[in-house]
Assembly symmetry: C2
Homo-oligomer: 228 residues x 2
């Protein structure tokens, strides 16, 4: 529709564009991603759209239903728990490693993320703020110089944004930036142990801010929508 810069859309750029839209909750969980429709939006054929959707499917950001098409994924409560279990295994140790390797350049990048996040939040762009908040975690993995783990964390962060869209309970305010600020100070002091502990606590806080009682759960929104 818009896309005013109109880059030469490739499979990768389309996948990235869609991922960002999902990450920013512009495409909520369950949204149908029709091939013809997307092809028209980006001005490419279904071939490339399918490749992009398959790519997102591998990252569990979209679910493919046979002969039904692609939909923005709707992680179950179980999957949500699994995602944060995996993050708990990967991220604290990665934060420790990142703290021990922190450089002025990487610190500047982190601080820029925080700044942009605050600006987005102030401008009411919650989606963008959430995206940047996720990028913060990915940047830490990049600081640790572990591309493989970074790829895993990137996937987990993206899925987390879907989980937040589904299970976030609004009473917990956006206190994330505090946790991120604390992490930054740990990085500044190259205090790996502190960074590891802070990250562990940060992830715990995130989980407890979700409503993961599997009562309504699966059908997505129907039961919840009709609850009265």
């Amino acid at each position: 529709m818009n896309h005013m810069q109109m880059p030469p859309w490739t499979v990768e750029t389309v996948a990235t564009d869609l991922e960002r839209a999902i990450h920013e909750h512009r495409l909520p969980p369950g949204t149908k991603l029709g091939e013809d429709e997307l092809g028209e939006v980006y001005g490419i054929s279904r071939t490339l759209v399918r490749a992009a959707l398959q790519s997102l499917g591998h990252r569990r950001l979209v679910e493919h239903r046979r002969n039904r098409g692609a939909f923005v994924a709707q992680p179950t409560v179980r999957e949500a728990r699994e995602v944060f279990e995996a993050r708990a295994l990967l991220e604290p140790r990665t934060a420790r490693s990142a703290a021990e390797r922190s450089t002025p350049e990487s610190m500047a990048i982190l601080r820029a993320h925080i700044r942009d996040e605050h600006a987005a939040l102030a401008a009411g762009e919650h989606g963008k703020a959430l995206h940047l908040s996720g990028q913060f975690h990915i940047e830490i993995a990049r600081m640790a110089d572990q591309a493989t783990i970074e790829a895993f964390i990137s996937e987990l962060v993206a899925r987390s944004s879907l989980i937040i869209a589904l299970y976030w309970q609004r009473r917990a305010a956006m206190c994330e930036s505090h946790a991120h600020n604390a992490l930054i100070t740990a990085f500044e002091n190259k205090d790996g142990t502190l960074a590891e502990d802070l990250m562990k606590q940060h992830l715990l806080d995130l989980v407890t801010s979700l409503d993961l009682r599997n009562i309504t759960s699966m059908p997505g929104s129907l039961r919840e929508a009709l609850a009265r």
Copy 2:
């Protein structure tokens, strides 16, 4: 060529078949995977072959070079280290969890893996033995009932088989089965702490059995093949 059972080849079955061939070192790192060629082998069109190759590409089992095609991946020394770093983060804790949840059924599956692995080794089928050895690790993740982590470990195990193909130094014999047997006894006793320690040591042993000095490294096999 053969494929005597000839299932109705789908994208998934072709990807699985290729992955197994790579895992068993029938397709060594660097092998060109031509689309027309594969299409003829499986009796399907390039469309499905491309989808399968893209799937393997996302798991880092094949590398895509623009306008050049797909090749069985050749992990660098750096990537090799990263893969085992990631495994060190994921697998010990997963083994602990698996031990605490071990059931007679899951133990039977594990023992069957060991038995088949020994049989394959006795029959000189090193590829099949290596494949089963990897499946053992994946089965543990399945026991832990963590599908997300299982998917990560599955990818890491597959990449490990490529790393072994490239960097294995033969002087270290196939002592793996001993480690796996020790793990089984820990599982039998539901000793999570022991299982975690054993897995940690097992992965360390694996890394030290590799030659990860980045001397010859990258070009793959050409330089090594012509070294004299």
